[in-house]
């Protein structure tokens, strides 16, 4: 019994964090918000060299062949740095489901290119979780029509994984869809609306008569969003502690006032258990399959709640400066805010957790 990380896992996370600290400091994140293409490519390239893009991909396809816990550790580091790069959809959700349900030809075609970081893959599954506005995909023969809302990493994607109403999963290549970027509060990652008009698709054969590949892909995505929020919230807490030790009022550093100290303690008390929860949920994907869906739901929902609390409290610790663009704390605030809504709001996801337990 050892509930914790191995040395290798700690090293992996340290190396990704270290790289991002030098390659994606706040100035670069700011620039990337205005000019994604130039800034993002260099960061993505460096991450690919560290093995991040092929983290979950089997070695036969050029990847590293690690597991969901390692992916969560990387995602946490990305959240900590508000890194403006594709990972959740492109390098976790899509490889997970391609390896589970793809044909040999599909794997041969896409896994090596995802692994090298040559292509970005988006994921269009929002309509399978909670449809808004005019989203909805219809399938006729081997072509797709309709539109998908809030496609993860969709604006940068050369290929999309699209879910139909029955849970069937389809690959659609660039040229066969039209991207309408959606502007969210978070400018560090892309979310898009995508329109299909008789797009040619390739069905993942393993998804033709089972929703399980779709559901596992969503589980993986939810755990990643939770891990991203964990990292972003940890950053906000660390910044708050540092600020409370430095900012003086009434001739004292404000961290010596209990009012401020207790805000920091409450953030830490709420956030620290989330780390264990994310570790367990990620580990359970492979090791405790009977608990994995429940854990993915709860971890997504719980991190959404704690993330929101930390984001607003950390901003308050910084006083008026917390609101400013100059300080830039809002990049983390907004990333946490977007993670909360993607792949299911906490309310929706908790209802799924109820269903998993047979309560609905």
């Amino acid at each position: 019994m050892d509930f914790g990380l191995t040395e290798e896992q700690v090293m992996l996370q340290d190396s990704v964090s270290g790289f991002l600290a030098s390659a994606a400091p706040l100035e670069v994140v700011r620039q990337a918000a205005d000019d994604r293409e130039t800034q993002v490519a260099a960061i993505a390239q460096g991450l690919a060299e560290l093995g991040v893009s092929g983290l979950l991909i089997e070695e036969d396809f050029g990847g590293v062949g690690l597991g969901m816990l390692e992916a969560a550790l990387v995602q946490e580091a990305l959240g900590f740095a508000v890194a403006p790069v594709a990972f959740t959809a492109s390098h976790v959700m899509v490889p997970t489901v391609l390896q589970m349900a793809g044909s040999d030809a599909q794997k041969d075609e896409w896994l090596p290119r995802l692994s090298s970081g040559e292509v970005v893959a988006g994921v269009a599954v929002t309509e399978q979780i909670g449809r808004r506005d005019s989203g909805g995909i219809s399938i006729g023969g081997d072509s797709l029509s309709g539109q998908a809302m809030f496609v993860l990493e969709g604006a940068d994607a050369q290929v999309l994984l699209v879910a139909d109403q029955g849970g069937g999963l389809h690959l659609v290549e660039a040229g066969d869809f039209e991207v309408v970027p959606l502007k969210t509060i978070d400018r560090t990652r892309s979310v898009a609306k995508i329109e299909f008009n008789n797009a040619t698709t390739q069905l993942l054969p393993g998804s033709s008569d089972s929703r399980e590949p779709l559901l596992q892909m969503i589980d993986a995505g939810r755990i990643m969003l939770a891990a991203d929020t964990l990292g972003a919230a940890q950053h906000m807490l660390d910044r708050s502690i540092a600020y409370a030790q430095e900012r003086k009022q009434f001739d004292r550093v404000i961290g010596s006032f209990q009012a401020v100290k207790h805000m920091c303690a409450e953030m830490a008390a709420q956030l620290e258990p989330c780390r264990s929860m994310v570790w367990y949920a990620a580990h359970a994907m492979h090791a405790v399959p009977e608990e994995s869906r429940l854990m993915a739901c709860h971890t997504k929902a719980h991190l959404a709640e704690v993330g929101r609390f930390v984001a607003r409290t950390a901003t308050e610790v910084h006083g008026g400066m917390g609101m400013t663009d100059l300080l830039g704390l809002h990049y983390w605030f907004k990333r946490i805010g977007v993670n909360r809504q993607l792949l299911g709001t906490p309310e929706l996801v908790r209802e799924e957790a109820a269903a998993v337990q047979g309560w609905v």
Partner: protein, 395 residues
Amino acid sequence: MDLAYSEKYQGFREELRGFLTAHGDKSPPPYERGKPSEQAVAWQQLLIEHGYAARTIPKVYGGYGAQPDVLEAHIIAEEFARAGVRAGHDGDNRLVPTVLELGTEAQKEWLIPPSIRGEMNWCQGYSEPGSGSDLASLSTKAELDGEEWVINGQKIWTSGAQHADMMFCLVRTEPDAPKHNGISYLIFSMDTPGIDVRPLVTMTGEAIFNEVFFTDVRVPKDQIIGRRGEGWFVANNTLKHERGGLGDPNQAESRFHHIVEIMHNETIDGQRLIDSPVYRDRLLKLQGEMLAQKFNGMRVLSHFAKDEEPGLPRWIVKLNGCEMNHQMAAMAIDALGELGVLYDDSPHLRDEGVWQQRYMLDLGLIIGGGTAQIQKNMIGERALGLPKEPKANSD
């Protein structure tokens, strides 16, 4: 991440389950107030013989004599909680380790065997009316008169004093020393003349705590643990052995399952509560919180098993666990609605009124053993490195 217990521990768990199946019916009710019943004493003796109580107390003092093992202790706690059976005890979880580590040989032989058998019951004389969170300012004094200490003063919040045989007590013996260096740790019988115990009835309607008054209480000079003036350090020495007893996640999980049963069994207008999306969402929020604390507990346990100091994950256990238990009681009461405010022996009472008792008692636990606000100070200062509040000039 390795969640499997090795064969050694699996075997240990199997054996314990076998024991609980064979002997569980001999257990006294999980909780009872007052002195242990004969049944409770016999049960404790059986547990010691099998190594499920006083497990690491040396045989020479009546214990089982096993090496300390965090995972074994965890498995014992988990299995007793799961079986709903009275867990064994190690005498008193503060006094016994203190005597074992710092007591004289004569004190160990005198105090430990009857304590772990449940025949010598202890109360803790720490808090005073003027010394709560700032315990080291305590003013109950003991003066040496020949071969005896003479104690005068008052303690408060003394749990179980009305049933206890003995007290371990912090008293000021060196009035001129700085406050932490002027305290001694004395032990004495509650039958000593001059001790007046007055029960404090709390909002539950029961007297759990007491006020204890000392008027010229004479205690033999050698009934001191450690040296005079070192009582503060004697008392704190055992804290390092404490592993977040308050706020234990095991207890929260079994309470949670109990609430799930209520949600399935109770109805409003014939509709089960679990079918109400509003109540259900609240239940699920609690479940998420409970899971987070559970895995944090496993992480802390793994650190202890490797003899590592867990740091922050440990500092938050009391604050989070007590708050969560309180929220669970609140959820159960709200699920029961009007039925949830019934009390005593009222018709229609559910679960013997335990949820209201817990709601009130758990608020006491949020306050007791280091208030939530003191916990936040400790988290802020010890785990996050924030500076202490400057002392007032008068101090």
